[in-house]
């Protein structure tokens, strides 16, 4: 099967920032991403869990965004401007994709 190199960016960010991150990505023409729900976690700001929460103050989301290598820096700059003042984690992995024309 024909595969093509790309980058998988995973941004774990506060749920309340979802719309802002989506819009920041759209502004730099990164329109392909998938949002995974997060059930709980732990970090320097403590441990949390979504169980029973009504408010949106606590809770994170994971954005998974696959881009060509040459678009990576644009994406990271845009994402980091949103994530910077907030708690959260950004990681980047090398990957291969099928249907490269989609990215």
């Amino acid at each position: 099967m024909d595969t093509h190199p790309a980058k998988r960016v995973e941004i774990i960010i506060e749920a309340i920032m979802e719309r802002r991150l989506s819009e920041a990505l759209r502004k730099v023409d990164v329109t392909g991403y998938t949002i995974l729900p997060v059930q709980g976690g732990s970090g320097r700001s403590g441990t949390w869990s979504r169980a029973g929460q009504v408010g949106r103050a606590q809770g994170m989301l994971a954005f998974v965004c696959i881009v060509r290598a040459e678009r990576l820096d644009t994406l990271l700059d845009a994402a980091f401007a949103v994530v910077k003042p907030h708690i959260g984690v950004v990681s980047i992995t090398d990957c291969e994709v099928l249907r490269a024309e989609r990215f």
Binding site: R20, G46, T47, S49, G52, Q53, V54, G55, P85
Partner: protein, 324 residues
């Protein structure tokens, strides 16, 4: 039944005991938990029911100039109480200006569940709060946030309140649902109520039990996590500030000549602290402020204080001041 009896009856009601069960279960590290979706579903039910009932009773009783006065009073209270809270926090605790402002925002705003519990207590005492008090509750959610941001800006740490955030706060889900249901109730009146009262009224207290069970679980979990954070100063603030807010609410009610039921609810609104809308706004607007502090204080200290002790006190005070 006198006021002390009522306060005791409240303490031993299924609703308060459900909250206590939740707190105890969480502190004992039971794995009892209510799924997030169910908790949200319960809160949607409660907001819809409260708003709708408020609207129907306005359709019945009509509006008066008192509503306008009460809405204005609500706006002023919500905007002003954060300044009081900020001053108290700076005096009583070692919080940074940023954290103090974030906490202050919560105390200007309101807790709709405390409002609901207060309504029950008022009605058990034979009082009859005005239906439009839910509209007052709605307008009190947001102004406190602005005051807090102003406090932060003043302490040199300028930050801009973007239009987006403003829209998010004013159109946040709870407010839209509460106000929307209020209008639906108002428009459809007794006819509408006749159609859906078996859903809106009959199971209300029972749903409230499960919701408070969940709040107890979340509060208890928060207390367990945040043991280290609750200094004596913060604890003292968490029970003093509601009394200050209640006094301000009662004063406003007195000036407006509200009936004892509405006066009590005005006290409850002043006394209660937000733990849903304001925390979310603070995470966006003041991400550096420590959320454990404001969540633990408002949900873990002030909320239970109001439920168990506050409501009785505000009822007694409203009786005294507004007669009845």
């Amino acid at each position: 039944m006198n006021v002390v009896d009522l306060a005791l009856a409240n303490l031993l009601s299924p609703v308060i005991l459900s909250f206590a069960l939740g707190v105890v279960a969480a502190l004992a590290r039971s794995d009892l938990s209510i799924p997030e979706a169910i908790a949200k579903g319960l809160s949607i039910y409660l907001l819809f029911a409260i708003g709708f009932k408020g609207g129907v009773s306005v359709a019945e009783a009509g509006l008066g100039w008192q509503l306008v006065g009460a809405l204005l009073a609500g706006l002023v209270l919500s905007a002003a109480l954060p300044f009081v809270a900020f001053a108290l926090l700076r005096a009583m605790t070692g919080l940074t200006p940023l954290d103090a402002a974030a906490v202050a925002a919560h105390y200007g705003s309101i807790s709709i569940v405390t409002f609901v519990a207060g309504t029950s207590v008022a009605q058990s005492a034979g009082l009859n709060p005005d239906g439009w008090m839910v509209a007052v509750a709605a307008v009190m959610e947001a102004p406190a946030i602005l005051s807090a941001l102003w406090l932060v800006a003043r302490s040199g740490d300028g930050r801009d309140m973007d239009a987006d955030l403003w829209r998010e706060i004013v159109l946040n889900g709870s407010i839209v649902l509460l106000v929307g249901a209020f209008f639906i109730g108002w428009i459809t009146g007794q006819d509408g109520m006749a159609r859906i009262s078996a859903f809106i009224e009959a199971p209300f207290q029972g749903v409230l039990c499960l919701f408070l069970l969940d709040m107890g679980l979340v509060a208890g979990r928060g207390l367990r996590e945040a043991r280290g954070i609750l200094t004596a100063g913060l604890l003292a603030f968490g029970v003093t500030m509601p009394l200050v807010g209640a006094t301000a609410g009662l004063a406003a009610a007195f000036l407006l000549g509200l009936n004892p039921g509405s006066a009590m609810l005005m006290a409850v609104l002043g006394a209660s602290a937000s733990y849903i809308a304001v925390p979310a706004a603070m995470r966006v607007a003041l991400p550096e402020a420590n959320p454990s502090i404001y969540l633990t204080l408002s949900l873990g200290v002030t909320f239970p204080f109001n439920l168990t002790i506050g409501l009785g006190v505000y009822l007694a005070a409203a009786h005294m001041i507004a007669g009845g």
